[in-house]
Symmetry: C3
Subunit: 183 residues, 3 copies
Amino acid sequence: MTTEVDRDELIRRLTARVEALEGKATNESITLGVINGSLDYTMAAFIVAIGAAVYDLEVDMFFTFWGTAALRDPKKKAKKGFMDKMFGVMLPRGAGKLPLSHLQMLGMGPVMIKQVMKKHGAKSLEELIADAAGLGVRIHVCTMSMDLMGFKKEELFDYPHMDYVGVGSFVDMFSKSKQCWFF
Amino acid sequence: MTTEVDRDELIRRLTARVEALEGKATNESITLGVINGSLDYTMAAFIVAIGAAVYDLEVDMFFTFWGTAALRDPKKKAKKGFMDKMFGVMLPRGAGKLPLSHLQMLGMGPVMIKQVMKKHGAKSLEELIADAAGLGVRIHVCTMSMDLMGFKKEELFDYPHMDYVGVGSFVDMFSKSKQCWFF
Amino acid sequence: MTTEVDRDELIRRLTARVEALEGKATNESITLGVINGSLDYTMAAFIVAIGAAVYDLEVDMFFTFWGTAALRDPKKKAKKGFMDKMFGVMLPRGAGKLPLSHLQMLGMGPVMIKQVMKKHGAKSLEELIADAAGLGVRIHVCTMSMDLMGFKKEELFDYPHMDYVGVGSFVDMFSKSKQCWFF
């Protein structure tokens, strides 16, 4: 028969194992990377973000590379050097100007797909971003990408839950998330 | 020394912590999103789906945006309005007609890659889909994307484990999955 | 009041539940798929891999489809048949020759973005690969893709932690990983 001392030892060991499992457990959160920067992929990211937030998951969005172009506010301007200015002109100026991911596939442009979306009562990217803000979805902008694209903080749109982060913060984010993937 | 009452309390607390961990634990399943709609990405998705199913993981595939075009059956037709008909013509009519993801990269078309695959004894997308069906891989079609693309249920191919879902179901799916990512 | 026999039974059951949870627990590792084969996506994959490795996560990278082209060493050659040779010429010869993912979006080529990266002190893909090697990041090459692309082992660059795997190994990898996603 098990003695009391044995029993205490069993409980101690079990507690240690539970603690180890708790250390590995994820939060009720997901991390969505946005790298592609096309209208369709960026919309898909926000649709998932909103859906997850509605179902009580916390959502961290990480915008990197071409993804950052969606965050530009067409009404804002920033002082820039020559090279950054050139990039600024070539890259889409905000959510309203994103291209489709598959131009070659379609023979149709973002204008056509936006008409179709309107007809079907689907929300525009700008409306999706506003919904995400209301639901507390957090936007984290990759500082390295901002540098690379020559974007300045003062030309991004106003968003209540936005900050600028490095790769370390991103690793931290996805390490504690239920899921992480890129659009 | 630990009293019996202490001991009972320890066990009760430990049980509560184990229950909390069990609530967070994932199923032996993965969720694969298919958004890109190119031949190579869609094949990659089915190859992973089949591999995972063979190793006893349950697999849920979520088809959205351009991904849905792979599900069209070229032999089926549906009544449509003008705009939907136009989209229907422009978008690939099923797995046999998907473009490659990187036309510009290659200077080669899907025809050439299919020849190479045949030469190497690799299965076609149609064969992969049949294998996936046999292994119980589930296909969930995004209703919003069906609307947007103007696709009707009656023009999708017959598949034994297919249903139509909204974003909520998708969130539910990936929340309990080991992994979720998009192709 | 709980008897000693009840208590032993409680502990036994709890131990079984903890064991079940431990069987499902993930390793402190992530799996990153590289499928796209563009300069920007492949760089993003290595930047995440390095960031994760610095923060003590083990990193497995799985190179498949176009992703494998980044692993070619431009100084190495391999004997090939006609078709494989043609593919070999059309596909990028190593990390230094990768295209951008969005040519149409930019009106700028890889040359321009490399200049910008240099100006901002960002590392080149070749330097990132060397850093990843130093941190123990593992590279797993999809054998099926090697066959399909007509690549031979002797034309890939030397990397201290590289092996060749099938889909089964990849499933094994991501099943025990905290996260898995594709670039």
